[in-house]
Amino acid sequence: MSDKHVKETIQQAMNHTLCGLSQDPFLTQRVLWRAANDKGEAQMKKKISGSLIFAFVMTLLLAGAALAITNWDSLKQYFETVRTMDTEGELARWSDEDKVSLLQAMEEAGLVTREDGRVQTALDASLPLSERGRAASRVIAERYGEDYFDSHTVEQREFPREERSPQEQADYTQWDQQYWSQWNSLEKQPLTESRIYRDTMNHLTEIGEFPRSLLRDVQVSYDFDEQQRTYTVTAAIKKELYLAKRETGQVSLFDPHQSVGYESGDTLCFQFWLDEFGAFLGIKNPNSPQARARLSLEEAQVIAEKALKVRLNVDQDALDSLPLRATYSESGEYVQEEGRFRAACTFIWGEKGDTRYMVDIDAQTGRVIKAFDWQASEAVLEQSRAWMAQLEELLREAGVSADLFNRQGEYIWQWSLQERAEWSQAARPIVRSFLDEHPEFVRYLEDVLASRYAQSPSSWPNLISLTQYAYGLPDHQAISQDKAYETAREVALSLGASRQYIDENKNHVIYYDVTDPNRPLWKVHISLIFGDADTAHPREPTAPLGYFVVMDAHTGEVLMVRERTVNTGIRELV
């Protein structure tokens, strides 16, 4: 189930289940009345049943008795300990030391005593820490629950607001304000090594289910960037330790789908940024274009400006007069061996919605991937559409399919050799003649291949691609179509293609190329593309999308093999 499907399922379930909640038809009036009579304090009505009133009174009596044997000073000390420990989270994630420390504070506040055997065990320093932690855990869980609690939970449990006298409430408020005022000043102090360590541990538990037992094996290192005033913190753990734990299904931090961790030698690492005061700035995604870049945007900008000057004769003044947006991005170039798009530094000159120049620089090598004038690209695109419309009209007038569909509604890939041969013999002379009469159209097509416009090289019209060569039918000297397919299949298998994927795909295409009548060719495209939703054939990002095999039609000799990737245009596969 995809994320979108989870969302839809949850929305449908909750909306269906909760749609019976009755709305208040006078809500607007009530709010306006409250606003008109507001004295600055929110009034919340409470409906209390008889049994709840009884429970409430009993609780008050019991809590009152508890308060009688405690005092605000000891509680205050305890609350400060709890807040300082930053114990927020599920108890299962606490270290044994933390559990014992909290229990120690509880004892000092008089909330538990050593008469309880578990407390005695937990506070006995001669016993193993794990045994003490287990005992402390039982007492804490009994008091505050196992699932989740924080300092607020503790304070409400031990010192309920409803039960405080006006003086106690005033004392509590004063203490609370003082605490937060100190906390705020603490936050603005530069980070210390111990705070970096603690923050790292907090972020590790936050991002994935990362047990405390593993946290102890995490090594923390950091670099401070003087210019940016930021820390890059790296948490690393031995791969074998992590994997041993992973088999139990307990940890998910380095789940490849979350993409926040990366491998480095025999360790697994995770990086994030903090500002100089410890504010969390974000996680360094090792797969992001920025993380993969070797060039800074400033370095790449120099190259981008030079590219525009050399290729398009754009002077610096023209660029300086336009607003510039610079960012790291994924270029349109797919890197097969990495299974992802190439990282690029992208520069866009012009107002938002009115781009003028755009340049993509390879973020690792500094190579210019694209540099073009957006307005010129738009203009020439319009012109190319007009040329294509004229050409298609010529084909239709001659009774030839211009949209590459036959009368059965099948696209040209599904046609028989016979159909494609007949179409080629009729369409190709018309297209070649049109191109001869429109050299500017030919130049545009060449410029697209050379990435001189915004248009991608793979955007060449299929009609143009499929009329590059003449197709016909095999002569008596040619090897059979089945033999040609079998040869191509063997080539693909020898290059690592999946036998299952080849044999279950029905979209292979075979051409008989008679452009040179003296040397006809069999051209076979072995397709390995299935739909994204086809779980039986999941896409392997680093595997080719197919193989294009060209062979001598008479001898069967393989003359050329091309792996099809995301970047391969149709014009290379015909």
Binding site: M1, H5, Q12, A13, H16, T28, T153, E162, I283, N285
Partner: protein, 174 residues
Amino acid sequence: MEDAREAAASPQERLASLVKEHQAMLLRVCYAYLCDAEDARDAVQETFFKAYKSFGGFRGECSEKSWLIQIARNTCLDMRRSAWHRRVDRRIRAEDLDSVAHPEAAGEEKELTAAILQLPPKLKDAVILYYFQGLSMQETADILRISQPSVSGRLSRARKRLKAFLEGEGYDER
């Protein structure tokens, strides 16, 4: 056009428009946080009251829906933290939802809803905002004041806990 209309409307008219458009949604959100219909109605009233009082403070940096949900969430958290709320057993079972459910709501839907309402607070928070209310990852992160990967991590953990209820739909961890 929408901005111009809002600017021209009086605060009272704007409140009426907000109530009409968002009351049902906020009731469900508040119920999800508080697991009590009466408390949810109180929280919704409080939410609109706070919104009305801070119309001038809404600078359009997020969507109106996101803004209201943020107020409602804070209101619910305040109520949930109160000692009163802590003393009442809020554990929800699927059959407890009959009083607020659509008559045709399927048993599986009630079970999934009950399972969501029983999630630990942090996970429930993320599920309500991102999955139930359809806020973006960034909006959810902004409201929870955590990073996007943290939201993603919480959602992932929530999905694992809800796996049994979602698996009936063919959920796949990949």
